[in-house]
Symmetry: C2
Subunit: 348 residues, 2 copies
Amino acid sequence: MLEDKNPQRTPLSELGEFRLIEHLTEQITLSHKSTIKGVGDDAAVLNFKSSRIVVTTDLLVEGIHFDLSYMPLKHLGYKAVMVNLSDCYAMNAMATQITVSIAVSNRFPVEALEELYGGINTACKLYNIDLVGGDTTSSTSGLIISVTAIGEVKEGNEVFRSGANPNDLLVVSGDIGGAYMGLQVLEREKEVFKVNPNSQPDLSMYSYIIERQLKPEARKDIVELLEKLEVIPTSMIDISDGLSSEIIHICKQSKVGVDLYENKIPLDPQVISTCEEFDIDSTTVALNGGEDYELLMTISQKDYPKIKGNPNLTVIGYMTEKETGMHLITRAEQRIPIIAKGWNSLSD
Amino acid sequence: MLEDKNPQRTPLSELGEFRLIEHLTEQITLSHKSTIKGVGDDAAVLNFKSSRIVVTTDLLVEGIHFDLSYMPLKHLGYKAVMVNLSDCYAMNAMATQITVSIAVSNRFPVEALEELYGGINTACKLYNIDLVGGDTTSSTSGLIISVTAIGEVKEGNEVFRSGANPNDLLVVSGDIGGAYMGLQVLEREKEVFKVNPNSQPDLSMYSYIIERQLKPEARKDIVELLEKLEVIPTSMIDISDGLSSEIIHICKQSKVGVDLYENKIPLDPQVISTCEEFDIDSTTVALNGGEDYELLMTISQKDYPKIKGNPNLTVIGYMTEKETGMHLITRAEQRIPIIAKGWNSLSD
């Protein structure tokens, strides 16, 4: 894929480290008043006089978090930013700045890094983020991307994982399970490609779920919506590891239990049909799939009228006393304990 | 070295990602009022109402930036923090928080990561830093450490690379070239060890330069000293890539030239004697060696009386008009153009 798109291949050594950073960052424009100084000094300088700031960081490793055989570099750059913005939004904060560090082996030409930065810059533009620093270095193998995001939130509006109370409603944005099923389709096509490199698969019937995997969007709009609706969730987390794992985080940190209703979990029709095709239970996918980057929150019952009927938010359960435990209420009205089966990057 | 020190080897998979992070961060204590929320949520929350904040990040890659055959993991953790604190101090800011992300292959047992975090925690304690977030994941090969540091500085006290004026004095803290010569000694001993694994080298005569390489200290004390002396440098940078490369950064960004005096460059006696032993020119080492993490600054001539005679600060030259160019004035009073030969991680 790289060769076709980039007939020109400039070796990294031709530019050198300093000029590479200059080259990759020369198109950066700054738009936040809080950014006093961006790329080009020992550190960026920021000014957040009237806000609290949030800081979050994520590391993406080739072969663990992404597979370049089906992940275009532009999308990878975009996704690396989204993963971090999502963490800021999960604090009910607006992301404002990022730093990006990259380690690459010499098998990547300069043009490949331009693609990667193209995705990063697109994400920054769409989400109004200033890229203010970073580090570019070589690696002995593969590509590693480390992004740190900084955001701001008005004092008192920050939302932790630990604030849920019994009787609060459990609410999720958008729909879930799509990113995981998109990955299943891409991995199947990769196997087909290995057997027959000339196959031209028609993936249009999977377009939504493949986009959920390759080009996820962080839910900035939900933070803006909550502000407009004048709802401050009692707790919030982003769904990176699957619904069950995130619910357990909220329950443990808030010292509450939960009743989650299987029939309320929002699934896209493409997720349902692809689960049928792959013979996988769609509830299992929603609970354990991960990478959807939707927001999971709890809200006070008094706020229910404000969110009722909003197509972006779905009530999927309610919080209980801790002693009641964490349960999925199935369509057959069985109570099944919720256990963490989230994607565990260290298990194999 | 690992086997001797750590007879117990717990596979990473035994703990899993969440419990590993919990395990490694359970000893963290927070000491800054600006840290509202540290590890354990989607993001850390910080409060910097009266200051500007600085942000910097660095990525350290096994086989590129460090060699575990002579770099103990505890020292590596310590150094990874120092590299970033040094960038904060180079802004004339006090570092206050860090995030640490680590990617490791399964060849590292939990005990190895404990060693690494031991060094990180020691650095945090000694430099009064709150560890507020991070990410731990697996890698397909080797160890990667990404650290982001956050610091604060009173508005108006921040120092950029771009503020130097003609006639300003060029000043360096401590002495330089030690870290590079320490590396030469360590690499020689590694080769000796390959031939004769039973050799027990006496490295005591190299103790200072080896410590400069394995356990560098960021110059927090210099930022404190400058405040006490009531000196705000006109420009500042930390010496990570060698004196010549950092001088060029200041000259280019400040649009000035420089006269650097070879006979003023501060060198430790161990650097001089080891350079003689290795038959390397000590000025070349000082100019191109790197990794000393001293601070290079320019100060106004009117501030000279305040720093005069201070054993921590050495005047090594002065800034000139841009047109004059950048020159080293040798002991033989020759004018040699300064060119960047700094360590370039992408050149091979």
